[in-house]
Amino acid sequence: MARRPLQEINAGSMADIAFLLLIFFLVTTTMDQDIGILRQLPPPIPDDMPEPPPVKKRNVYEVLVNSRNQLLVENERMDVRDLKEGAKMFYTNPNQDPDLPILTRQTRANVQENINLLQQALAKDPSNKQLKTDLKKWQGKMSAIELIGEYDELPTSALISLQNDRGTKYSMYITVQNELSAAINELRNELSEEKFGVAYSELNPALSDDKPKILAIRAVYPQRISEAEPKDISGGN
């Protein structure tokens, strides 16, 4: 049987088929990027957890929002427009206000001494996890000092405590969260501009060059926004 030569397939309609698929994907594609405020929730508290030690009042920046969307900051009414400045004051305490936290100067000698002490202790007790994490913490501070020089550090217990009522409007809650983040971000940006010449938000954590800079700035201005366990503040609904 004689073989007929293979007929070539007409490719003229290929474009039409591709067009059809293209239009389908064009229609179903959603290009919008989801943006938002990222937060890390605390893990659930076990029932047998001991009471945490009391924190000095001056080390806590208390922000309460009631069901009428009014703010009570450090037991005084405040407009949400002033919250950012208030939070920045709490973080830096430039006027040595006795109601705000005491910042301690981290000097090179001081940090080095702590590292030495921890290393000696660790040499005696090499399996102690607590010592290892402490050592890591102080070494982090040392690398921060090497990058940006000696700095004033917030007490470890200092934090912004945010509490809201069940009746608070969600938009108000977001505004408060946003203002608190804005305060920290502005401080970080200022420091980064001063030390590295670029804004903190421009630093890229994926670059090995920028990563230590980011860690150093975070050591100076840690993001410590804590949300209290939910409870009714004013019973409003």
Binding site: A18, L22, P44, R166, Y173, N178, S181
Partner: protein
């Protein structure tokens, strides 16, 4: 003179369309790659609040959405309701839903899962607090408050 005039008819030759399928295929592949198919029908109306200190959500496939708002269909009432995937849900359903979604993903991706809360501006915090408590119980600790870009003071 006549030596240089072309014989036959003048006019531009037709543009070859042979490469058209290739061009279309290129576009097609682009859109196929960027398309995310997991788009749910909104059953609740949400007008998100605005904020300035926002971050982008990196990987869309690793984000689960919880929608809270008043139902579009008024037969379901005017109180804010929770929508998970394509259906209404109660606060108590969230833990199971989170576990189900977690099981669908690879082991390596599990710590990267973000839960995005799309909540209407006018919703009261009570329901949001309840949702957050459930998420904590379910160990879904990375959350995102979905917002629009804009001044937060106008909310």
């Amino acid at each position: 003179m006549s030596k240089f005039t072309r014989k036959g008819k003048k006019g531009t030759p037709a543009v070859s369309t042979a490469s058209l399928p290739d061009i279309i295929f290129m576009l097609l592949f682009f859109f196929m790659v960027v398309t995310v198919m997991r788009e749910d029908d909104p059953k609740v109306s949400i007008s998100k609040p605005s904020a300035t200190e926002t971050e982008k959500l990196e990987k869309k496939s690793l984000v689960d959405y919880i929608n809270v708002g008043t139902p579009i269909d008024t037969r379901f009432g005017t109180e804010p309701k929770i929508q998970l995937d394509d259906s209404f849900a109660e606060v108590a359903d969230i833990q199971f839903w989170i576990k189900e979604n977690r099981d669908k993903r690879d082991e390596a991706e599990k710590p990267l899962i973000t839960t995005s809360l799309k909540v209407d501006s006018d919703v009261q915090m009570g329901v949001v607090t309840d949702i957050k408590q459930e998420l904590r119980e379910a160990q879904a600790l990375k959350i995102n408050y979905s917002v629009n870009k804009g001044s937060a003071l106008d909310n």
